[in-house]
Symmetry: C2
Subunit: 468 residues, 2 copies
């Protein structure tokens, strides 16, 4: 059961980004009569990390646009005691106390309920030279500022070798979004990926479509390539990346090999971590300590397809879990529906989206999935414009149950994936999906929506033996 909060009780939230501020705001809305304190170790609360690549590209012009609301807004409008530059250094669940450190020293704070919203941090592998100036990660607004500053510095030198040479280590979503951002800033970009394919959450037959787009945009993609070190150039900042024995001249390097949940505080407090290494929570976001909840990138989520705990650190989940944790921390009783791992990203002229399990992901869960892949037009054949969209559906060959979907196309991808996410939430099989009354008008779809074409293909595979 969620904790019951007495009037005048205190909720402490650790972390002031999406999950933390959603939790604090939700708690405040439900309970004007409790004290709410947010501890944020940085300077900034409530920022949009997902917009950082567009900030670097220059599409998001102002740094202010990245910040949804500043700390003053929460203090003034929502009566939330937001304390920036305040780091929670120790959590003592038995005493219901959190120790926090500021420039002025340490302070103990008691709580009636506490929410861990400590987020995740960019992984910085311990490679030689990884701390050289010009070797960046991208997770926070200051990270974004540093990359912008570096690009501005380099601007003056560009004439020397024609363009800024950028090396991106890691071909995941951030790596690919940053490839586009850096090309927009006129850089020559090389992506180095250790695995055989970029976008490893997609199946290779789909990620290959994205590689083609990268190559078309003059981005060099080197897969199955390990980075060994960063070496300084003449000015002391990064000048070379060593990868599989080769030295690549580099003016700026981005390490985008993933993130890991910030769980040190929880771990030291004896709070259980889950199989993924993130904080284990029940559907009400409650941890192994009954008065401690967790939400966002530091916490696990139940996967609606596999049924197992998973760790999918995304803004959507952080906002939802934060809202649920905030409600439950002050006496509510609501549950998180779980994640399908739905995501979407723009890679130059393509949009790439995914929900549920890939073929490889389903195999990893011990299933023996079947799949279909089709390519169709995004508009009626008569209507000008548009282009191609590829749809992959992964399903159980015995029951026909939909397990996941992947889309790559020039338009109509981002919200088409939600149809599949909804089908997963409803545990539909591919026959059900083939029966959905989807919309059609020439500017937006062919009369058989690409999802229906794919679903019909899957049905055909299921019923291949059936005599008609």
């Amino acid at each position: 059961m969620p904790p019951r909060m007495r009037s005048g009780g205190r909720l402490v939230v650790i972390g002031g980004d999406a999950a933390g501020m959603s939790a604090a705001s939700r708690a405040r809305r439900l309970r004007p009569d409790v004290e709410i304190v947010v501890l944020e170790r940085g300077d900034i609360v409530s920022y949009g990390a997902c917009s950082l690549p567009y900030y670097i590209a220059g599409e998001v012009e102002s740094r202010d646009d990245l910040i949804v609301h500043d700390a003053d807004f929460f203090r003034r409008e929502r009566h939330i005691d937001v304390r920036i530059r305040t780091e929670a250094v120790e959590l003592r669940p038995r005493e219901r106390t959190v120790v926090c450190r500021t420039e002025l020293g340490e302070e103990s704070l008691t709580y009636d309920a506490l929410i861990l919203a400590t987020g995740a941090s960019a992984v910085r592998p311990p490679l030689p030279g990884v701390d050289l100036p010009g070797v960046h990660t991208l997770r926070t607004v200051p990270d974004g500022d540093a990359i912008r500053d570096r690009l501005a510095e380099l601007g003056a030198d560009v004439a020397a070798h024609g363009a800024v040479r950028a090396t991106i280590v890691g071909g995941g979503y951030i790596g690919l979004e940053m490839a586009e951002a850096l090309v927009a800033r006129n850089a020559r970009v090389t992506i180095i990926e250790l695995l055989p394919h970029v976008l490893a959450t997609l199946d290779p037959d789909m990620s290959d479509l994205v590689v083609r787009e990268l190559l078309d945009r003059q981005v060099i993609v080197r897969t199955e390539t390990g980075v060994e070190a960063f070496e300084p150039g003449d000015d002391g900042s990064v000048g070379w990346v060593l990868a599989d024995g080769q030295r690549l001249a580099t003016d700026i390097a981005l390490v985008a090999v993933g993130v890991r949940p910030n769980v040190d505080l929880a771990k030291k407090a004896g709070i259980d971590l889950g199989r993924t290494g993130a904080i284990a929570v029940d559907p009400r976001q409650i941890t192994s300590e009954p008065m401690v909840l967790a939400a966002g990138d530091c916490a696990e989520s139940p996967h609606i397809v596999s049924g197992r705990s998973t760790w999918v650190p995304l803004g959507t989940t952080a906002n939802k879990q934060g809202r649920i944790a905030g409600e439950n921390a002050v006496g509510g009783d609501i549950r998180f529906a779980g994640v399908a791992g739905t995501n979407v990203t723009k890679v130059f002229g393509l949009t790439v989206a995914q929900t549920g399990l890939s073929t490889a992901g389903a195999e990893g869960e011990g299933l023996a999935p079947d799949s279909v892949r089709i390519t169709a037009s995004t508009r009626s054949h008569a209507y000008p414009g548009g282009g191609r969209i590829s749809v992959k559906l992964v399903f159980d060959p015995g029951t026909g149950r939909l397990l996941g979907g992947q889309l790559v196309g020039v338009e109509g991808v981002a919200k088409r994936i939600d149809t599949l996410a909804t089908a997963l939430a409803a545990k539909m099989d591919v026959r059900d999906l083939a029966g959905v009354d989807m919309s059609y008008a020439p500017p937006f779809a062919p009369v058989w929506d690409p999802l229906l074409i794919a679903a019909n293909q899957a049905v055909k595979k299921l019923s291949r033996e059936r005599v008609v």
Copy 2:
């Protein structure tokens, strides 16, 4: 049970558009060993009626683009005996015979199974002057040609009064799409609608958003206005429209007051019509005569929300029903999942979409629905471009079950409606919808998708009495 077709048996399909050609093609794919005859009274088979407004606007440049495959293609590639300019004039189910008429005379054709795919026709109300040159309907390719020809004729005269004056009678989807098409052809457009609101299938709070867009584009919208007559101008073609006692100068008039199913042949053959006036069919598309199936705009469909028979003449349904009828006519056994009435249209800079029941529609079914309406951004607040999208959800206040949804916005509408159509197919309630893991990236959506914002509002309304 669907009819069983002997090898060498004959399937006759009456009507060569979406439903008819889908049926014939599907039957051929499953059964290379049967004879398939399609009777089409016109010249053209397999055309895209939904693209006609874009053909008139000039966006679809070539008439050939409207035609998916011509009759020769079906004869040559699919061995389907397509007979154009051949009208079925009498159906005798007991004798399994259809009488058809060509220029050469009448012929009787026996069948083992028959599919009625006779479509629907534009309603031409018996108003004085409705047959004047320059008074058009838009349903077929020749209709589109006639409008293009009229506009070309008028082109020369434009200098006289600045622009072609077009009057559209009827503010439904075709009327609004044609308003955009005629504005694209530099016409000054007036829409006259008898009802208090255009797009009567939407609730007024949503259709009002569309009216605003029409007015912004200089289209005059006159609601609650009845047309009394068309009067000739000096050249003998339409010159005036009489509406509520006023005379509107008009160079071209489009009557777009709806369509009616072509059921005369079925009716005379003693085949049952349903409550909507279209042909009654079971889920296998079989009519009251066991060897006669019906599909497309001439047939009813089960509505997945109301559970009742409905008549929603749309290309998507025609294709699906045709496919099912074609399969079942030759020995298959598949069922149509039903319709939600999902539709989408582009009205200048807005996209308008709908699925399931509106508030008025639900009330018409004897329900007492509740609803929410929200307006949100189509992109992350940081990301440039985009605009507003309005979402209306209609739901049952007792159970929370989703009954329908309406969307009006500048982008991301067409395929977002499919999420709601999928939720309706799965009989989700608004809590389930609020739990769907929808996609987010700054170029495509805010972190809380507008559908989730609306679903959360609906949940809040449901649980207003709940103590937290």
